[in-house]
Symmetry: C2
């Protein structure tokens, strides 16, 4: 009943952070103790939740936790997780996280550092949402190894379908084989972000996605056998682009805006009994 | 008179590729022999120009050129550069490029591989446009070391201003000090992408940018002392989002669309005598 979801897509600017933050806020509003883990050195999820790394130079961040994922007396995990709202916590990022890929470079457990760190938190959180950077590197792999599920934010363009293919291949590498890093990882689905129902090719792209998932459903044992296009699509809404600069979620900034309605409805899809347990 | 421009911004999805491709096409249309170098393992600039890495598995790419940047008889540079239109060539990317960061990891000249490769091409191209991935890693550093100028595509959000500060710091590290990798690198300016003149905070963000550059102009010797907000801003135009999926530039796909008009006008700003020589 504890959901660990990695929000990943190696393509930049598709709505990973916007989705991770606002879905986490919606989960918290539903009474779920929610932790957002910011795995992007650019720290936009942290900033979006009002946590500014430049004001936390002496405080622990997810970088420190990756370097030391234990819970011994002075371990960074005890200080790194900060409350940001009711039922909502953040494990924030910082610029130095960019160095983690090199510093952990050849450690045998370099992919499972975050998983080890989250294991120290037991049942504290009902939902852990992991915001991944736009790459398939070590940080994203830590997110995927630590999660039980993957959600793929994307835009409904044909070019985006190519990227999804590559992304699913990465997930398969993590789940297949006898030394699989995370054999039970499943793909819960795709979130359509910045969605324009009227655009010329939108319907075709969505149809392509839906038939892909319908075919996958016939092939049990694939990580995406029960994946689907999650509804509703998140419509383009300027309020969603404005609120991060003010350190506010859409629910704080513009609770009646389409962006708030769409993410609240998406939270109902993900948490309302339709998702994997 | 040969312009080498790196299009960089570590933030994802801000319009780097869209700008590099369409500005390159506009330069070619003005009669300038133009080379687009795709430094992103996701190869969207290559795909946008109709070059599909999955159909070129046995062909040389920018990856091979980074591993061997010479022009000896069988060097990859001789085959990697492919014509994609009148006055327009592409040095395409491929998925394996993601491995370059590790493979070049500790070579002393790992930052200047692309520069060495482009030096083999002499005066062949009047313009070299380098599309960078959404990071400040080794690939982007190769792009910055190989360029004479930097153009920063971005969106007019307050959060974007933070990222620009970090980006300029990176440029300063490359240009300052006695061992500077590229001391003559200058910032030509910012391209405002997906611009919405009507949005609530757009004017404020643009004002912030313009005053930042006005102050920088008073401090000679900074890499951005003559940087400016380049005009026009590129308006949000759905045609720009559609054409990459068909391997077409905006000038091929929708030559009368606002996207075509805006990028043609931007080319006039960059090449019409207003840029550095
Ligand atoms: N539905 C939406 N309507 C309007 N703007 C949106 C919407 N979703 C996201 N945006 C804006 O689009 C931009 C990219 O979104 P976001 O930062 O969430 O993407 P990302 O995938 O996390 O990017 P990165 O790859 O850099 O981590 C941001 O400026 C964001 O505010
Ligand atoms: N002016 C515009 N109007 C509408 N859509 C645009 C515009 N500029 C870019 N886009 C679309 O926005 C998305 C992101 O643009 P683009 O891929 O050029 O950004 P990028 O900075 O290169 O991303 P990445 O960081 O992943 O390399 C693409 O789907 C693109 O087609
Ligand atoms: Mg993000
Ligand atoms: Mg790009």
């Amino acid at each position: 009943e504890s959901r660990r979801i990695a929000f990943m897509n190696q393509k930049g600017g598709v709505g990973k952070t916007t989705t991770t933050v606002n879905l986490a806020a919606a989960a918290a509003a539903r009474g779920i103790a929610t932790l957002l883990v910011d795995l992007d050195p650019q720290a936009h999820a942290s900033l979006h939740l009002g946590v500014d790394p430049s004001e936390r130079m002496d405080d622990a961040s997810v970088y420190d936790v990756l370097l030391d994922p234990t819970d011994h007396e002075h371990a960074p995990i005890h200080e790194a997780i900060v409350p940001v709202g009711e039922n909502l916590w953040c494990l924030p990022s910082e610029t130095d996280l960019a160095a983690a890929e090199f510093e952990l470079g050849d450690q045998p457990d370099r992919h499972t550092r975050l998983r080890a760190a989250l294991a120290t938190q037991g049942g504290r959180f009902g939902a852990v949402f992991i915001d991944c950077p736009p790459s398939l590197g070590l940080l994203t792999l830590n997110g995927l190894a630590a999660a039980g599920e993957v959600v793929i934010p994307m835009q409904a363009h044909f070019l985006a379908l190519q990227g999804v293919g590559k992304l699913l291949e990465t997930i398969r590498l993590l789940t297949a084989g006898e030394h699989a890093i995370n054999p039970n990882l499943t793909v819960t689905g795709v979130v359509l972000c910045m969605h324009d129902h009227q655009a010329a090719h939108t319907r075709e792209v969505v149809d392509d996605l839906e038939s892909f998932f319908a075919e996958a459903a016939e092939l049990p044992g694939l990580p995406w056998s029960s994946a689907r296009v999650l509804s509703p699509a998140i419509r383009r809404n300027i309020k969603l682009a404005e609120c991060p600069s003010f350190g506010q979620t859409i629910f704080q900034y513009a609770p009646d805006a389409n962006g708030a309605l769409d993410y609240a409805a998406l939270a109902e899809t993900v948490f309302g009994g339709a998702g994997p347990e």
